[in-house]
Symmetry: C2
Subunit: 236 residues, 2 copies
């Protein structure tokens, strides 16, 4: 059972996706999803009583979930005035991508030195599925792509960095789900993934790191273009 089996996007291990408490778990996750998916608008007020009623619980679990979200940066607080949804705007996304450009190459470099036969086989399998899907099902592509990169970062000794990457990834996955891939971007993704696998095979860590930097940067640029376009359309 060494096989990672499926392509479902899951945290790199050891990262607690758990909520505040037994019941709080789903609550935290639900509110969080609502924020990331945009069902809760940017800067929207998060009234504890409302959320409690809506989720069929009392206020205390909601309060704790909000504090947890605050610690993770999804919610902002003003004393005596409650919580608001932190807007996931262009600046926020740009910030995250820029950090990714700095961190992911380092994670990749390490992976190249540690990759096993199975890792490479798994990458090729996922890449096969990605090309097979060929962006027909965007959601599936998103999952596959995340899985692809998870294979690389999963076992990195720097758990803190891996966790950071995963948290960022979750946000970006939700954001990019709102947009389609341009043809140019599709081609670039396929090409870069193939190149990456080749570099992993030949053990060229520096080149792989450099490639990942370009890959992440390109991805960020792509998403930001879409966001800009959409916000421009909304404004015009």
């Amino acid at each position: 059972m060494a096989e990672t089996s499926d392509f479902k996007a899951e945290p790199p291990e050891g990262i607690d996706a758990l909520g505040a408490s037994s019941e709080g778990a789903s609550l935290y996750e639900q509110i969080r999803e609502d924020i990331i998916e945009g069902r809760l608008a940017a800067n929207e007020r998060l009234v504890v009583t409302d959320l409690a009623r809506r989720h069929g619980t009392s206020t205390n679990p909601v309060r704790e979930a909000l504090q947890l979200l605050r610690g993770e940066g999804f919610v902002t607080f003003i004393p005596n005035r409650g919580a608001r949804v932190r807007p996931i705007d262009q600046d926020f996304v740009r910030d995250i991508y820029e950090i990714g450009v700095l961190i992911e190459p380092a994670l990749t470099r390490w992976f190249v030195g540690m990759a096993t036969e199975e890792d490479i086989a798994e990458l090729e399998r996922l890449q096969g599925l990605i090309e097979e899907n060929n962006f027909a099902d965007p959601l599936r592509h998103s999952e596959l792509d995340t899985a692809f990169h998870t294979v690389m970062y999963q076992r990195h000794y720097n758990r803190h960095a891996a966790e950071l990457w995963w948290k960022h990834r979750e946000v970006l996955r939700a954001v990019s789900r709102r947009f389609n891939f341009t043809l140019a971007r599709r081609a670039a993704i396929i090409r870069e993934h193939r190149e990456l696998i080749a570099l992993v095979k030949s053990g060229e860590a520096d080149k792989a790191a450099e490639l990942i930097a370009r890959h992440v940067e390109g991805s960020g640029r792509h998403v930001l273009e879409h966001m800009r376009a959409r916000s421009a359309a909304r404004a015009g």
Copy 2:
């Protein structure tokens, strides 16, 4: 009043050092300090009732503070079994330093392009105080050193990265407070700071970035050596 006046270490602005609520503020900060400073041992159980009694409040504020700390990664939770102090061990510190080595050069590079006369004057003023103090008062050195780097990262457009840096810095400040600086490290710090100021003046961004990478890495190595030594002593 353009002058940043003092040398007190303060967050880069716009970063809420606020707690859960009016009273919760101090509570959050106190527990957090207790963890970082080591007054609460690694993996120690955090019993809500105890903490409430100790801080003279009821349980709810404590529960919220703990969730906030969880979101920030200082506390771990197991459902129905409560919270524990996340150990700030060598791995944790190493992880943080490694991320710093990746991020700080980028922040520095930007600063070199944006530095004003006042910025440079402030850096030189702080460096003067650092050399004047000459590690006689370690706490003061820590504050001055933090202020020095804050001047550089304070206004960076990537708030997320700046915030990340600050949070890491707070942890490292507390950890390194437990150790003395070796003579070699003292000399290196003074030298590198001077070099850095020179590079900022001449606008050599790449070299400054490279220098910061070395600076952070050296700092990390130094602290980790101390931690290793101490834990070895404890074990032996």
